[in-house]
């Protein structure tokens, strides 16, 4: 069965205590290097954002079908795959960000985590808890809570969709046989 490209979930918007989006969240804030020895994905969720001021309890806020909304240059820094996998472990379904670190983007795509680039998303009225509906192929986001629609969002490319459908990069490789 083909995975759905229309996702519905609850927003978690990563802002600071003043209500401003946090830019340049690096991989050490997402998944601190003191936990790098962990290789079992099931153990990673509890440490997500464990080093980000104000968000250390993140793992307890995540409900099923959470949509993570982040600022600019998200995932800058090291190439650690755990910084993506910790969100997969919590079943975060999608990350929408104003921009991403280049290696983070590669890692996310390779692991089948959909990732949308939305340059102005932090300036919109979307708040934590809003119910969002997202079409990955058009990039259209609508807020069921606020009756709003947002465009100007880059939809997933063919590559991202291919890997997303397959599950991850290696599964996609198998599907080519």
């Amino acid at each position: 069965m083909k995975k759905s490209t229309t996702l519905t979930g609850k927003a978690i918007v990563i802002k600071d205590s003043q209500g401003t989006g946090i830019d340049d969240i690096d991989t050490d804030m997402i998944f601190h290097n003191k936990h790098l020895h962990i290789t079992d994905i099931n153990e990673m969720g509890q440490y997500a954002f464990g080093n980000l001021e104000g968000w250390k309890e993140f793992s307890s806020l995540v409900t099923e079908n959470s949509i993570l909304i982040v600022g600019k240059n998200f995932g800058a820094g090291s190439s650690r795959q755990q910084a993506v996998d910790c969100f997969k472990a919590l079943e975060v379904m999608l990350i929408i960000g104003e921009s991403f670190g280049a290696i983070y983007k590669r890692n996310a795509i390779n692991s089948g985590m959909p990732l949308l680039t939305a340059p102005e998303i932090m300036k919109t009225a979307i708040e934590t808890g809003d119910l969002l509906k997202i079409d990955l192929t058009t990039g259209k986001i609508s807020s069921e809570t606020k009756k709003l629609q947002f465009s100007n969002i880059t939809p997933l490319s063919q590559v991202q969709l291919d890997i997303y459908y397959a599950g991850n990069l290696f599964e996609y490789g198998k599907s080519l046989e």
């Binding site: 983007k105 795509i109 880059t154 490319s157 590559v159 291919d162 290696f170 490789g173 198998k174």
Partner: protein, 417 residues
């Protein structure tokens, strides 16, 4: 609107429409792994595709061992053996360049494996050095490379392109490295962040293959994806002869809209040196003379070609290096090593008191030869001087001429040529 060089190369290797920020599937002509990361590539393949064939096209798949050759620690010995066994089993025997061969990216140019307009990926973060011959080269992680072994393709986000035009004749004692450090000084470590760079201008046109390699090798330190230099007739000739093949040469369209368009006048540029702790921390050598030097390394993918050693030899001829200096000479490849032997340079370096090693990455990656101790001052022709990268000492980056002159003086001096 016209297309840039990288856009044309990508378009030649993809069935999708090419534009900046677009992520496309890219067909890869050459897939490679080195001793760093190579064993993990094998492990990823075995874990994810048990019992299946692991290599889409063995003739296009290569291993090159260059980081620590021959292995001088158990970890590297183990990893090389894992990769070696895999290569012997799955690839044509000639596609394994073992510990005697030298730096992988240089071998690809010398052996005609990489040619202009080809696409090459590997586990070497400086594989974009292939921009020197107008090829697309890119370093990637071991999962990504395992996938290219298996499928022959990878995905790639088309970068924006900036144009850097350099004119002027450098000072007599300056070379491609000083031009390169000059660009780093002006652009800084993020100046080309995430972008493809096209180099033009009289200064670039005058560079030979070795000089182009030097410049292209440091685009990584400018933050760039790749630095492309359109091949001139002598580069085209060389690549044709080495590969026995023909290839298209792409030029950027006239109406390209570059994200940045920069011009530098390097007329009379004096020798440059990058101070620790980062490659963009560049000054004229003349401003930092007198610092005592403990070791000198002439080597690496940036300055390990015959032309680089010939310049150093001019300075060292008939002289002895300072008695407090350890001087290390490491050719980039076996072919360069042969040239040094045939032209009497091994003898010349021996007479001057240098340590001469078999080809490889020297002190650059994990210490084939030449790590530094606490407080040690090292002048190297390499490309990175981050804290701790080559040991606890302080590393300075300079040209072969400057490095050789420092070896004689035992302190940082401006070379005379």
């Amino acid at each position: 609107m016209g297309y840039t060089v990288i856009e044309k190369i990508i378009a030649d290797h993809s069935s999708e429409e090419v534009a900046p920020e677009k992520i496309v599937w890219l067909n890869i002509d050459v897939r490679s792994a080195r001793d760093f990361g190579g064993a993990n590539v094998v492990k990823n393949l075995e874990k994810n595709y048990p019992g299946e064939s692991h290599v889409a096209d063995p003739t296009k798949t290569f291993f090159t061992f260059d980081c620590v050759v021959p292995a001088n620690n158990l970890g590297y010995a183990e990893n090389q053996q894992v990769a070696r066994v895999f290569a012997r089993k799955n690839l044509p025997r000639n596609n394994l360049y073992d510990v005697n061969a030298g730096i992988g990216s240089h071998i690809m140019i010398e052996k005609g494996i990489a040619v202009p307009n080809s696409t090459v990926v590997g586990t070497d973060s400086h594989l974009n050095i292939l921009g020197a011959i107008g090829a697309f080269g890119q370093g990637m992680g071991d999962q990504d490379i395992a996938f290219t072994f298996k499928t022959g393709k990878t995905w790639f986000e088309v970068p924006y392109t900036m144009r850097v035009t350099i004119d002027g004749t450098p000072a007599k004692n300056s070379s491609a490295k000083d031009v390169t450090l000059g660009v780093l000084e002006k652009l800084g470590s993020k100046g080309a962040l995430g972008k493809s760079v096209e180099f033009y201008g009289a200064t670039i046109d005058a560079l030979d293959l070795a000089g182009r390699i030097t410049l292209a090798s440091q685009v990584t330190e400018m933050g760039g994806i790749i630095g492309l230099i359109t091949p001139n007739s002598s580069i085209i000739e060389y690549c044709k002869e080495r590969s026995g093949r023909d290839f298209p040469i792409h030029k950027a369209d006239d109406d390209v809209d570059y994200v940045e368009d920069i011009h530098y006048d390097f007329e009379g540029i004096e020798p440059r040196i990058a101070l620790p702790p980062n490659p963009a921390n560049v000054r004229p050598v003349a401003e930092v003379t007198g610092i005592k030097v403990d070791s000198v390394v002439i080597a690496s993918c940036t300055n390990g070609r015959y032309e680089d050693f010939a310049i150093a030899a001019k300075i060292l001829k008939g002289k002895k290096v300072h008695q407090d200096v350890m001087m290390k000479v490491v050719p980039a490849t076996q072919e360069v090593y042969g040239q040094l032997l045939q032209n009497g340079l091994v003898d010349l370096f021996y007479q001057s008191g240098a340590i001469i090693s078999n080809p490889g990455c020297a002190s650059c990656a994990s210490g084939q030869i030449g790590m530094t101790g606490d407080g040690e001052v090292q002048v190297t022709t390499g490309n990175r001087n981050f804290t701790g990268k080559q040991g606890k000492g302080d590393t300075y980056l300079a040209s072969p001429a400057t490095a050789a002159a420092c070896a004689l003086a035992g302190e940082i001096v401006v070379p005379e040529l």
